[in-house]
Each structure stands twice: as structure tokens, then as C-alpha cells.
Symmetry: none
């Protein structure tokens, strides 16, 4: 952060200026401030210490952070849960009585499982331990677990056996929680085994529904699961008309 040098400030003025900069950028570097106000870094440091002592900023090595900064990142957990619930509700509305539904794991899927209507009668097939657990709590849902070796990170079954069995299933719908999606690379992930399983799921299902919070859009990872053209429905927490979704408006893709 570099601005025009300012001179001859009183201490209070200077500190007010610093506070302003912090609230503007969420963080400041001592070196930059020293440059823009033309005082020594010692002075800046002393200012920052005072502001930190009175709780106005958070002092860190090399500068200071805005106080709201911390809560911004900390709340992301909760805030994502809310978004995931929005997604989950849209997703749940796609499932009709009698359907065969193939799903992966992931927190969004879990949220969806919890939101399934009590009276829904359908068959869910999954290789995810937490998802299977959630499905099995529902009174009218049949759960088929697709077993194999359990990948510890993701808590889902992976391996040839699982993939073979997935390919023998002709599901009506496939719900996929994903890690990254963009128009160029399609759905991508970074776990080889998981990618194999998800690939099989997409290929064997009549329709593929992708659930993703909007933050995961326009990022990509190393391994490709499938292209955007193989997705039938994209669900985010955003309104379907949102600008962020413009790149995904294709003939083959429904946005919810």
C-alpha cells in the first residue's frame, strides 16, 4: 500500500490515519505506513502498539490487522453452513418418490440428507459413511452402501470393486458435492481415488446434479472428473440469475 507522502502530522492525526488505512485494507504493513507518512518505522510501531493496547487493531509481526478481520474468516464456517442449506433445499426438491439416487459424500450432501422430506420414498446409493448414516436415519429411504476400501480423508469407499458396482447401477440422479468447478476444466478434485469413483458415478447416471457453494466456482484442482457439458444441473446458493453464473449458461445445463 503506497500513497503520497504526508507530512507534519500530529500523533492523533497519524493514528487516525492508520486506523483509516486498516479499516480500508484490512491490514497494513509498518514499512508502507512509514513511507506514506514519512516517519520512522519506530514511530509507526509505537502507534500500532498503542492502538493494539486500546483494542483498535490487532498487532502482528510486520504490521497490523483489522479487528473485524478475524471474525471474517472465523464466521465462514457458519456462513457456509447456511449456504449449504440453501443448496441442499434446492437439491432435495429434485428427488421424487421411487427414484434411485446415487450420491457422493461431502458436507453439502450431508445437509441435503438431513433436509429430505419425511415422506419421501426413494432408494439412495452411496459409498460415503457419513452420508449413509444420515440416509439411514430417514424412515422411508432405502440405503445401499457401495462398499470397498475406505479412503480415510473423505470417508468414502474407493477402489475397483466400488467402481465396478457403481457402473452396474443405472441411477436416475447423481448428486455430487464438488471441490472446484470452472468452465475450462470442468469438475476437478485432488484425490486420485475419489476422482475415479466420481467419474464412474457421473458416467453411469442419467442425470448429474452438481452442488457447489459459489466460492468454489472458477477454481480448479489437478485432477479432472468431467467436463461442464456432462453436468445436467448446477446448484449454488445464489439466485439462478446471478451474474457469477453467466459462464455456465449453456443449453445442456440447468441452473438452480
Amino acid at each position: 500500500m503506497l500513497t503520497n507522502p504526508v507530512t507534519n502530522m500530529l500523533k492523533k492525526e497519524r493514528q487516525a490515519y492508520i486506523l483509516h488505512q486498516v479499516s480500508l485494507h484490512n491490514s497494513v504493513l509498518s514499512a508502507d505506513l512509514s513511507n506514506s507518512i514519512n516517519v520512522s518505522e519506530d514511530t509507526i510501531r509505537r502507534d500500532l502498539n498503542e492502538l493494539a493496547e486500546t483494542g483498535k487493531v490487532i498487532k502482528v509481526h510486520g504490521g497490523a490487522l483489522s479487528k473485524s478481520f478475524n471474525s471474517f474468516y472465523l464466521r465462514s464456517d457458519v456462513y457456509n453452513v447456511d449456504n449449504k442449506k440453501i443448496i441442499a433445499e434446492k437439491a432435495a426438491s429434485l428427488i421424487k418418490d421411487g427414484m434411485f439416487v446415487l450420491t457422493g459424500g461431502g458436507t453439502t450432501i450431508i445437509e441435503m440428507a438431513r433436509l429430505l422430506p419425511e415422506d419421501l420414498k426413494a432408494t439412495f446409493l452411496t459409498g460415503s459413511i457419513p452420508a449413509a448414516y444420515e440416509y439411514s436415519q430417514h424412515p422411508n429411504i432405502e440405503v445401499i452402501f457401495i462398499g470397498d476400501k475406505i479412503a480415510k480423508k473423505s470417508q468414502i469407499a474407493v477402489g475397483g470393486e466400488a467402481i465396478t458396482r457403481i457402473r452396474h447401477i443405472k441411477a436416475d440422479l447423481c448428486f455430487l458435492g464438488i471441490n472446484a468447478l470452472d468452465t475450462e476444466h470442468g469438475i476437478t478434485d485432488n484425490d486420485w481415488d475419489v476422482v475415479q469413483v466420481k467419474k464412474a458415478m457421473v458416467e453411469t447416471s442419467a442425470k448429474t446434479v452438481v452442488m457447489s457453494i459459489s466460492e468454489k466456482l472458477n477454481s480448479y484442482q489437478r485432477l479432472r472428473i468431467c467436463g461442464v457439458d456432462e453436468i445436467d444441473v448446477l446448484i449454488t446458493e445464489l439466485d439462478p440469475s446471478d451474474k457469477l453464473l453467466d459462464p455456465f449458461r449453456l443449453n445442456s445445463l440447468t441452473i438452480l
Copy 2:
């Protein structure tokens, strides 16, 4: 996760960014973070270590995992926990490195799973959702889930597919939590599907270990799993010399 590079971050900012990415994607790779923030992998590793030390993420080889993702299954108040723990400890002592262990579900099995030593390297095969979850929390244990339709009451996979696969396994040990046992009727249960699965497990294993709180001894139910002569080890919370166990002192049966 690959996004546009960001530069000149304060350490805290960087760590907040990492946390955000972890909560977003459930997992991060050190290499990817190093790319997107333009710092060396060493720095990322040090950050991840710090975040792991303060319990914000779970560090794994190559990156880190979200902490919130794990732990869906809460131990509801288990009947007779203390006795079950005694049983579980005895049972755990039977398992040696390299073994293939086939287990059912049930609260006693879950307790055993929690008591397995950290350094035990073995392969566990099960059709129980809670058991598979517990096994998968251990660092050195391979978990194979034997999938099929999930029986809701017992949260285990039942059906022809599961049975066929169980019969193809030649396990060293089979651990069974049971509902009823007496010398006349052997192991008995009252759920048809579950009985089929347990039968297959007993028949395909080199040794069968039965875990039961003493209350369940000398009672029986409608459906027979196997006779007492097919059991190799009987574990209860009692001292092996206890009078209650006298009826079970046979040549073929070890009492622990």
C-alpha cells in the same frame, strides 16, 4: 486448489487464508497453497503445523484437512459402557499386526474400535456404518466396507451381495457382538437379515471371538447363528474363573 497468486501477506493473513481454503474445500495441498500465495512450501508447512497445534486443522502428509468434516457419529448413552470397555480391552489384545479382522456392529465392537492401540497395523472388514467410522479414525488401520442394503435398526449391510463378499474373505479373526448365547442354542438373534450375515462371518473366519456382557448369557432368541462349538473365544466383563461361565468351559472354547 489453484487460484490467482496473492502477494505480501502477513503471517496471520496467510494463515487465515489457509483456514478459509480448508473450510471451503475440506482439504488443501501444501503445494497448491505454496503456488497461490507465492511462498515456499516450508512456510506453508510451518503454517499448517501451527494451525494443527492450535487445533484449527488436521495435518496430513501433503497438506491438511478440515476438522469439522470428521466426527458425525456421537456416542449416545450406551447401556453398560463400563462393562463393555472391559470386554473391549480384552478383545483388542487379541489383534496382532498384519491380521485381517472381520467384525460386526454393535456397541461393544465400537468400544473396541476406540481402544485399538495407535500403532496397530491391521485390516478391518465390516458392514457396520458406525464401526467403519471408528476404524477409519485410526491412523494405521485399513478399513474395508462390505456394502449392500443397510438395515436401519442395526446400521449394518445385509443381503446376498454382502454375504457373497463375506464368504470370499478368509479372515484371521471374526469379532461378534451378540444378543443372546446359551450352551443349548448357541448364538441366537431375532433379525433374519442380520443372522444371515453373522452366519457367513462365522463360517468364513479362522477364529470366532464372541463378545457379550454376562447379562446376555443363558438367554436365547428365535434365530440361530451357530452353535457354541463353533466359537473359539468368549469374552465377557467377568473374571474368566467366574462361576457364571462354568457352562461354557469346553475344550474348544477359550474364556477371557
